[in-house]
């Protein structure tokens, strides 16, 4: 049944996009976090998508998240000697999250999610109409 695998394909895309949205939420939540007592700041994370073949003919392809990578660029350092987390020179280390990038990522993920939901809805209504064939 070829139309039924649309649900697998779009479902895999939806779960991948929601994982991406999760990562964006985590990044945005930690956008203003400063380094803890161990001196480690929060590192922005990003998902890596990969195509997974779904059927034997090789053209039907879903998506999966293969890895969540951490951005290792150094974060912003503010001079704030009265901050409780300031280091010996008076600098406070912040996370390296770029809120603008994250917002763009969020919009992209939510649009892609919506697209896939629409694909599933269309496939569902077509299948329902197919069920009523001949009546």
């Amino acid at each position: 049944m070829s139309m039924f695998s649309i649900f697998n394909v779009s479902g895999s895309a939806i779960s991948a996009q929601s994982q991406r949205l999760n990562v964006v939420a985590s990044n945005l939540a930690n956008a203003d976090a400063v380094a803890g007592p161990d001196g480690q700041t929060y590192k922005a994370r990003q998902v890596v998508f990969q195509t997974v073949p779904m059927a034997d003919n090789g053209t039907t392809a879903g998506v999966k998240v293969t890895a969540v990578t951490e951005n290792n660029t150094p974060g912003r350092k503010d001079f704030d000697p009265y901050h409780p987390m300031a280091d010996a020179e008076g600098f406070v280390a912040h996370s390296n999250v770029n809120p603008v990038e994250e917002m763009v990522n969020m919009i992209s993920a939510s649009r892609a999610y919506q697209n896939n939901v629409e694909v599933m809805n269309t496939a569902k209504s077509l299948l329902l109409k197919t069920l009523q064939m001949g009546s």
């Binding site: 070829s2 649309i6 779009s10 039907t60 697209n115 896939n116 269309t122 077509l126 001949g134």
Partner: protein, 151 residues
Amino acid sequence: MLNKITQPIDFQAKALSLRAERQRTIASNIANADTPGYVARDFKFADAMRDVNAMSDLTLKMSPSGDAAASAGHAAAAAGMSQPGHIPLPVLSTTSLQQGYAVASQPAMDNNTVDLDRERANFVDNSVRYEATLRFINGYTKTILSAIQGQ
């Protein structure tokens, strides 16, 4: 004589199968809109329809004799035959479908060639045509039924 009644439905059934196949291909493209390196696939419906119509006389005509079971070995498995006494069903093989690659409308940094606007347009177009094919089938069955019942 019955053949003449079912022939138009046969044609529409093949069209419906191909439409479903195309719907699946486009759904894959939309699902992979953000996957780096993914190459969008598509096929020309007219060419695929011509191919299916050309091969149909050879592959779709299967008799319950041993000759058919031998000639369509893997098709038999696809039709769900698990016993030698099973009567083979005609299978529309879409696995041999010639799928092409969609031309990228604009280059992307991650080598993804999915054009989401085009795919969405194709998706809507294809679903309308799928529904149209369904209506043709429904209309034809209604016509034949009313001719049979004569009322």
